[in-house]
């Protein structure tokens, strides 16, 4: 237990942590690429469409951009504020939110579509090139991760 109390000086902690970092770097960089969120339009869910250099040799730029743009469109559809979402919100409020126990929200329906789309993309496009995409919902909607298999 005593060995776990952090050292008094910040320097020791930082160098130890950097050593661990090196180990992790060599293990993981070769295998995974993360596409981060794009917050330029606010807090709605969008991913960056910039093509990462690590994927240059593995997949065509257009295919990658298509996938990410389609995902962005799906998320925009899920988070769209319009007539249907207002209706859902007002109905939920009127039933003291009990309706969420029996009805699936529009967001959940779109998430199912996204899961199916990702599976399709994996089967048709990415698996033949030795890559796989993970569904962002499994990573807390922070990243779309591509990893080599």
């Amino acid at each position: 237990m005593q060995g776990l109390v952090p050292a008094a000086t910040d320097g020791n902690m930082a160098t130890e942590f950097h050593n661990l970092q090196e180990l992790r770097h060599s293990a993981s960089l070769a295998n995974k690429v993360f596409i981060q969120r794009d917050y330029s339009e606010g807090t709605t869910c969008r991913f960056q469409t910039k093509f990462p250099s690590e994927l240059e040799s593995r997949i065509e730029r257009t295919l990658f951009e298509d996938t990410v743009k389609t995902l962005n469109n799906y998320y925009a559809e899920a988070e769209k504020i319009g007539g249907q979402s207002y209706l859902e919100g007002c109905l939920a409020c009127a039933t003291a939110y009990l309706i969420f126990l029996c009805m699936e929200t529009r967001y959940e329906k779109v998430l199912k579509k996204i899961a199916k789309y990702i599976q399709e993309q994996n089967e048709k496009i990415y698996a033949p090139r030795g890559l796989l995409i993970t569904d962002p919902i499994e990573r807390g909607m922070r990243v779309v991760s591509f990893f080599a298999v």
């Binding site: 776990l4 902690m13 409020c93």
Partner: protein, 365 residues
């Protein structure tokens, strides 16, 4: 920063694993574990992960009992008189409001407020790589912020040392629950949970309906006592005939001030698409500069702001509480969290107390 401590991987923990791994796998083979059982934040789970609460309940039992006792007294002692002398709709309206208040309260307390799951080790390593290549390499880790443009306005994203990720905009780390919460409003001790993106609308319905309920009960009790005095009795005699009314009056009188104030404040926040956290910190106040520091998230229309905040789409929970753990991930997570807990709780208690007071003051302001 209270969360600046790196979580080191203790070499002894790694050496412990092989010997106990066999025992673990024997046990795990019998019962697959759900993800809520190894959740790293300070939350409690009930009904096999369906219900989530902060570890410290705060005063949720007190809130519930105040509401139930006051309404119970109202229905038992004031309603019979009022039904006889006025109308039968009084207990009906009271009943509807009471049900709405309790359901909203339970919904606010038991819903995941928008907790962000912590970064996986691979993601954390990727973020570290990006920071190292862009920043300077001194022995002391530099402060970790990233500036981005949102709607042509510069917003700083901070790095969360606990969750090992850059916090999305409007996200804040709650030290009481030890989680990053999206669109973090505040940690409400009355409700026993954080108020964030996913349960803000429930919280708002709770305080609005509670304002109506307390005003309604207050009005009805005043009417009750007035009617009794009009029948030729003095106020003291009227009170002696119905002592429960005094209890209700006292509770409602003190509640109304705070609840109505809170409702008004949150109505202002909803209309300007702000969170309590941003308002308190003055993130978008006009003192800093005329055009540069407006709120980048506002739709510049009160109605659109209200609709977007309250009637927007319901985002899903990002922590998969009831999902099953894959067998190879179960073992390291459990032993690491078991060993690391004791040193950190001792340090964080003092900071937690201050935050608790600050936040509870701001909540009831």
């Amino acid at each position: 920063m209270k969360n600046c401590e790196y979580q080191q991987i203790d070499p002894r923990a790694l050496s412990v694993l092989p010997s106990s791994a066999q025992n673990h796998t024997e046990k795990k083979a019998q019962r697959p574990r759900r993800k809520w059982e190894v959740f790293p934040g300070k939350n409690r789970f009930f009904c096999d992960g369906r219900i989530i609460l902060a570890r410290q309940n705060g005063v949720l039992p007190l809130t519930l009992s105040l509401i139930i006792v006051t309404c119970g007294l109202f229905f038992a002692f004031d309603c019979p008189f009022l039904v006889k002398h006025l109308t039968v709709f009084i207990p009906v309206i009271g009943g509807v409001l009471f049900v709405f208040v309790v359901l909203s309260l339970l919904r606010t307390s038991f819903t995941d407020p928008g907790i962000l799951p912590r970064a996986t080790p691979d993601e954390a390593a990727d973020v570290e790589k990006q920071i190292d290549t862009s920043g300077s390499s001194t022995y002391r880790p530099p402060p970790r912020t990233k500036e981005i443009l949102i709607n042509q306005q510069v917003v700083k994203l901070k790095y969360c040392f606990t969750c090992k990720t850059f916090r999305p905009p409007r996200t804040s780390h709650c030290s009481l629950c030890d989680n990053c919460v999206e669109r973090f409003d505040h940690h409400c001790p009355w409700v026993g949970n954080c108020v964030g993106k996913r349960n803000y609308r429930f919280f708002y319905s709770f305080i609005i309906s509670l304002s109506f309920l307390t005003s309604f009960i207050f009005g009805c009790v005043i009417t009750h006592i007035t009617l009794r005095t009009q029948a030729g009795k003095t106020i003291v005699q009227a009170i002696q005939e119905s002592p429960a009314s005094v209890v209700e009056l006292v509770v409602c009188f003190f509640s109304i001030w705070s609840i109505l104030g809170l409702s008004g404040f949150h109505t202002y926040l909803v209309a300007s698409n702000l969170t309590t956290n941003e308002d308190i910190k003055g993130s978008w106040s006009s003192k800093r500069g005329a055009e540069d520091s407006g709120n980048p998230y506002t739709y510049n229309s009160i109605i659109t702001n209200c609709c977007a905040t309250l009637c927007g789409p319901m985002p899903p929970s990002l922590i998969d509480r009831r999902g099953f753990l894959p067998h190879d991930e179960a073992i390291p997570a459990v032993s690491a969290s078991e060993i690391e807990l004791p040193p950190f709780t001792a340090k964080n208690d003092a900071h937690m107390e201050e935050n608790c007071q600050d936040i509870s003051l701001s909540c009831t302001a």
